[in-house]
């Protein structure tokens, strides 16, 4: 019995039912507040800010968007000042179709360099925007002429350890994962994982790229070791099948980059720890260095709801605190214990 109690426990601390479908929830740094974004049944988008007070969630602010579907069917990219959520700080008509995924780097102490936002859309393009440059993207990754478009489902920044270097990783619905180097403006690596890619994340955005986790349909996820790139074989990876359904989201713990949590389509969360191998590189057949992937251990899992958990976010301030939202119109604040002894 003692061994099960030494494992980290995932405890549902607070649960709140909302009257709209929640697509995403994120913490506001340096505070006990988080933002929930979603859309009402009548189609208008909404953003709400909640604060945790005395074990309950209190609504602090609310903003209703005129356009439908804040996250999906968004035809304008909006950055809003959260103190005054009604007026956007930066607004641009970004893509011809739904923006499926968005990520940011470079402001707020996350990474050095220009503050940039990357968006991935159903029209198959990935665009990088700078809030100081209106109307045109800074970088545009689009298919060549005549190529049939595949939906881009997820984007992530990484490798932003100094002012110039930056990488964008994009996952598509046909299983492609592409890594773009923004310093050289080129495609650095691509691979296909045989299932549509739902979510990609680097373990840290602001370091020399270390690990990348990509989750996909059919309950699989892959962990790539990004320190050593082989010219033909690319990056070494280990893959794991869990969840028995789509893995919607992966998030690394901000305080420990080897622990991450995956959220599944059956309403369950799995907490994993990555173990590095004894040697991270080895010499291949042609005397070129290639990476060695480690192993992934399941620390804990819990089932919270019957609907998919679509988003997950760790609090950057308190270790183990996270907020997750699922399609049963509810948002939950969870506490994961014993993460410092793992």
């Amino acid at each position: 019995m003692s061994s099960t109690l030494e494992k980290p426990q995932i405890i549902a601390h607070i649960q709140k039912s909302l009257n709209y479908t929640v697509f995403d929830s994120r913490w506001i740094p340096c505070s006990a507040k988080f933002v929930c974004m979603g859309n009402f049944a009548r189609g208008t988008g909404v953003m709400q800010i909640y604060e945790i007070q005395h074990g309950e969630l209190q609504l602090v602010k609310e903003a209703v968007a005129a356009c439908s579907d804040v996250r999906s069917e968004m035809e304008a990219l909006l950055c809003r000042n959260l103190e005054v959520p009604e007026c956007p700080v930066y607004s641009v008509k970004a893509h011809k179709e739904i923006i499926n995924s968005i990520d940011g780097v470079g402001g707020l102490g996350i990474g050095d360099g220009a503050p940039e936002i990357v968006t991935g859309s159903r029209d198959g393009t990935v665009k990088v925007w700078d809030s100081r440059q209106k109307d045109t993207p800074v970088v545009n990754m689009e298919p060549v002429e005549g190529e049939t478009k595949r939906d881009c489902w997820t984007v992530a920044f990484g490798h932003a350890f100094n002012d110039q270097d930056r990488c964008v990783c994009a996952g598509y619905d046909n299983g492609d994962i592409k890594l773009f180097d923004l310093r050289n403006m080129s495609l650095r690596w691509e691979t296909n994982i045989k299932n549509g890619v739902c979510s990609v994340e680097f373990d840290r955005k602001d370091i020399n790229m270390n690990k990348l986790v990509a989750t996909s349909l059919e309950g699989k996820f892959h962990v790539f070791d990004m320190r050593t790139q082989h010219p033909t074989k690319g990056f070494a990876s280990v893959s794991e099948k869990a969840h028995k359904s789509t893995v919607w989201q992966v998030r690394h713990l901000p305080q420990n980059r080897d622990i991450f949590m995956t959220a599944g389509g059956a309403g369950n969360l799995h907490l994993w720890k990555y173990e590095y191998p004894a040697q991270r590189t080895k010499k291949g057949a042609d005397d070129v260095d290639m990476g060695v992937a480690g192993s992934v251990n399941l620390l804990q899992n819990v089932t919270l709801s019957t609907q998919p958990i679509s988003s997950l976010d760790w609090s950057p301030d308190k270790q183990g605190l996270c907020v997750c939202s699922s399609f049963d119109q509810s948002v939950r604040v969870l506490i994961v214990t014993k993460l410092n002894t793992v």
């Binding site: 019995m1 109690l5 426990q9 405890i11 601390h13 740094p29 340096c30 505070s31 006990a32 604060e51 945790i52 007070q53 005395h54 074990g55 470079g106 360099g113 220009a114 940039e116 198959g124 990088v128 700078d130 100081r132 440059q133 045109t136 800074v138 970088v139 545009n140 990754m141 689009e142 298919p143 060549v144 190529e147 049939t148 478009k149 595949r150 002012d163 110039q164 598509y172 619905d173 046909n174 299983g175 492609d176 592409k178 773009f180 923004l182 403006m185 080129s186 495609l187 691509e190 045989k194 299932n195 549509g196 349909l217 059919e218 301030d317 308190k318 270790q319 605190l321 506490i335 214990t337």
Partner: protein, 413 residues
């Protein structure tokens, strides 16, 4: 037939009868006794001893001692009387009856015993189960209690942390106000270190010597951000996929099945034409021939393209694209009548008119319209161009051409 034992001995007193039966060397384990109130049978193969008792006995109180080569029975009489002899003389039928009764009785006794045993086992199992359940419930409660404690602790920490955050924010605001009004600002103030580092685990209020000016100037110094990146564009290719849906591993076999069936449906229907024997395997595939024809068209070799399309049509007359493309070739070769025929054929195959075949119909209409105009049949040409415009109203070039034709018609009439 078992051997009947007759050399038994017996004694009695007022209330008991003692019978002693020699076992004649048979092991005690093989001795089997059936005893009822009126009858006693001892069988130890190959011997048998049975006696129909003179008077009734109390079977429960009687004893049997089997050992040392002899079986001694101590039978308690029901009625205290001396018996004249050990067994009664009764007739064969009665004997049989008594024997059967005895067997039945023994069986009943056995059944009762086993039932009692089963009931007892059941009882014990139930008890064990209940204790198990109780233990598990306790365990569960204990874990739940731990979780609740953890939750409560976390809530308390959160609240505490939030309060300190709020206090820091207020203090910073106050300092800013003070700074604004120019009051001396090197009083030691209770401050936490930068909020970015604040975690409840490290929640200690420091009386830092930092003056407010140091703190605020750090916040007010703008970060030197690099200029926006110079614009770039990266072209990408996708792993090819026929279906618009997302790729799933479990669906791959079904999808391949479907594609194979589609390809086979397009292949030659009748392969027993004599000339087909000369062709290579790939030349029998209308898809391959169509691609070949397209390539030849792009290269400018229109006659060869027509030949390719001819062969493809011979193999499969149902593909509208073949007719449409052949019409384009004929247009280039100025075989205008043939062009009109082929585009008409293509349009026939492209019924019903749906959004999926709109591009195909557009091309066919435009080609037929062009052919008509080249033959100076402007009215028919205009009909086709108008049909094309209905399919794609936003095409500027098409609109310009239609207007030109209209002018020509109006000019000549």
């Amino acid at each position: 037939m078992p051997l009947i034992v007759r050399d038994h001995t017996w004694t009695q007193n007022q209330n008991t009868v003692y019978i002693s039966v020699p076992l004649k060397g048979v092991k005690t384990a093989n001795v089997h006794v059936i005893c009822t109130d009126e009858y006693l049978k001892v069988s130890f193969p190959p011997f048998l001893f049975e006696v129909f008792l003179f008077g009734p006995i109390n079977e429960e109180k009687s004893e049997a001692k089997i050992g040392n080569g002899v079986a001694v029975f101590t039978l308690q009489k029901r009625r205290d009387e001396l018996w004249e002899q050990l067994f009664t003389n009764i007739d064969k039928d009665k004997q049989k009856q008594i024997r059967e009764q005895a067997i039945l009785k023994v069986q009943e006794k056995e059944a009762e015993k086993s039932k009692a045993k089963a009931a007892r086992i059941q009882q014990e199992k139930k008890y064990a189960l209940e204790t198990m359940m109780k233990l598990e419930n306790e365990e569960r409660d204990r874990i739940q209690k731990m979780k609740n404690e953890e939750c409560a602790r976390a809530t308390a920490e959160m609240d505490f942390w939030r309060e300190t955050q709020r206090k820091t924010a207020e203090e910073n605001e106050n300092q800013q106000k003070l700074r604004g009004t120019g009051i001396l600002d090197n009083q030691p103030v209770c401050q936490k270190t930068e909020c970015a580092n604040a975690t409840p685990a490290v929640t200690v209020l420091h009386n830092t010597g930092n003056t407010t000016s140091g703190q605020i100037s750090k916040k007010q110094k703008p970060k030197d951000l690099p200029a926006p990146r110079s614009a770039g564009c990266i072209k990408i290719n996708f792993t090819p996929r026929v279906f618009p849906t997302a790729l799933r591993e479990s669906r791959i076999p079904e999808e391949e099945e479907w594609l194979k069936k589609q390809a086979e449906a397009r292949r030659a229907v009748d392969t027993d034409l004599a000339e087909l024997d000369d062709l290579k395997e790939e030349e029998r595939n209308p898809d391959w021939l169509k691609e070949k024809g397209d390539k030849l068209f792009m290269a400018g070799n229109y006659q060869a393209a027509v030949n390719a399309y001819n062969l493809a049509i011979k193999l499969n007359r149902k593909i509208p694209a073949l007719f449409s493309n052949r019409a384009a070739c004929h247009l280039k070769l100025r075989n205008l009548h043939k062009a009109i025929e082929d585009s008409s054929q293509a349009l026939e195959l492209l019924t019903p008119a749906v959004a999926a075949n709109a591009p195909g119909r557009l091309k066919a209409h435009v080609r037929r319209g062009t052919a008509f105009c080249e033959l100076e049949l402007y009215v028919e040409g205009l009909t086709d161009y108008q049909a094309a415009l209905r399919i794609d109203p936003h095409n500027e070039a098409l609109r310009a051409d239609t207007d030109k034709i209209r002018e020509i018609i109006q000019g000549t009439t």
